[in-house]
Amino acid sequence: MKTTIILGSLLAATGLGTSASADKLDDIMASGTLRCAVVLDFPPMGSRDADNNPIGFDVDYCNDLAAALGVTAEIVETPFPDRIPALVSGRVDVGVASTSDTLERAKTVGFTIPYFAFTNVVLTREGAGIEKFEDMSGKTVGSVSGTFEGIKLEENIKEWGAGEFRPYQSQADVFLALSQGQIDATVVTSTVASAIVASGQYEGLLIKGDAPYPVDYVGLIALRQEYGMLNYLDLFINQQVRSGRYQELYDKWVGGAAPKLTIDNVYR
């Protein structure tokens, strides 16, 4: 490995190699693989089939992106809290992982324009005595550590001054804890909530109304300084919508009219 680095830098130094000013996009095209960070316990965006192979909206999205780049896709499973570390640490090239575009995160990584949008709902268990969002006050609730809805829910619990918030390291652990009764409710994106309830995988889970949070726009993520890459990704997202592929994937995994990805009265 070391020799290749030395060789590579020698080639680069003498201008013989192609990597003289290679950016991420060049690297991906040269290596022939696109490594996507995908969260696989977040159906329908990402999950595993009966043979434990990755499937889902994000998996298809990554495959489309790889096809556009003319390379093969490699799905790297990353739990939610690990998405950005995986990207920053160079384990993956791009995150196709339903990442909310918060300003705090944008200090560390680069976001594309939104490629999906979520609304959040309250997911609870039969007999937990929760009928609407405010009923969660005083209960034990949980969510995935560091996610958009997780941070909001923890703030709510602090505001109410009653109840307990438990951060888990993966979405699967949250659902497991909820179905076992370790926690009484969680706030989760509506698509995921309906997919989970419809799957029948967990017994007795119920959706109880919307959480009063703003629409959660999610973008693809790449390294902050990789403008070439980010530019390409923006155009790719635009093309996915323009070509109807976005709606097609939405029909396949969720169903209905795909959410609008633009915000009124302002440019992105």
Partner: protein, 221 residues
């Protein structure tokens, strides 16, 4: 050299939060050790007992705790027991997992120490009119603790290190939990974990030093 700008200021601002977490870490480690030692004495005696009803469960506890990962044991305490409707909060699950582990390892340490105490002492104590419980408590146990002191200190350091595993079952108040919480918000992974590492190191050193002082006071001839 590095294509990265370290943001130490941002991370150091969180130091008070991390120190609060360190206290919780120390608390769990101490509690799990106190309970672990109590269980371990019982397990050590039970495993040596002639009755299979006493030795078999003790052996099972000891072997399972020593032959599966601590992370597995903690995960089991939270999600495994959860499927029987037994809900342990992350704090209790972590405490239970580490206590289970401590007890198993310490039981073997104590058993080794018991072997090193000559059998004649028990007989001598009994012939002086002590009951077997008195003899064990007053003659055998103090010697056992003395022989096992160093390995017990090591286990204490292990207990501190094991508390970091609580983050996998939703623990967010101990040092590792606080660290991860700050990490997922700011993504300054290296800086924040480096500070946590220093704190862990200092706790471990303080405990070792404290144990040495304790030993020099307790075990003076």
């Amino acid at each position: 050299m590095f294509n990265y700008t370290f943001q130490w200021r941002q991370a150091l601002q969180k130091l008070p939060l991390l120190l609060d977490g360190a206290l919780v870490t120390l608390q769990i480690a101490l509690l799990s050790m106190a309970m672990g030692i109590a269980f371990a004495v019982v397990l050590a005696v039970a495993r040596n007992a002639k009755s299979r009803w006493a030795s078999a469960p003790a052996s099972a506890w000891i072997e399972v705790s020593r032959n599966t990962p601590a992370l597995f044991q903690i995960y089991m305490a939270h999600f495994g027991l959860g499927s029987f409707g037994i809900y342990l909060s992350p704090y209790v699950a972590l405490l239970a997992g580490i206590t289970f582990n401590n007890a198993g390892y310490l039981a073997e340490t104590f058993r080794g120490a018991l072997r090193a105490i000559p059998g004649t002492q028990m007989r001598a104590a009994r012939s002086l009119g002590m009951t077997s419980i008195q003899a064990f408590r007053l003659i055998i146990m103090p010697q056992m603790f003395r022989i096992a002191f160093l390995p017990t200190t090591n286990q204490m350091v292990w207990a501190i290190l094991m508390t970091s595993l609580g983050v996998t079952v939703g623990m967010n108040s101990d040092l590792a939990g606080v660290t991860q919480d700050i990490n997922v918000r700011s993504f300054r992974t290296f800086e924040i974990f480096a500070i946590a590492a220093v704190i862990y190191y200092l706790i471990a050193k303080a405990v070792t030093l404290g144990a040495r002082l304790l030993a020099s006071r307790l075990f003076r001839y």
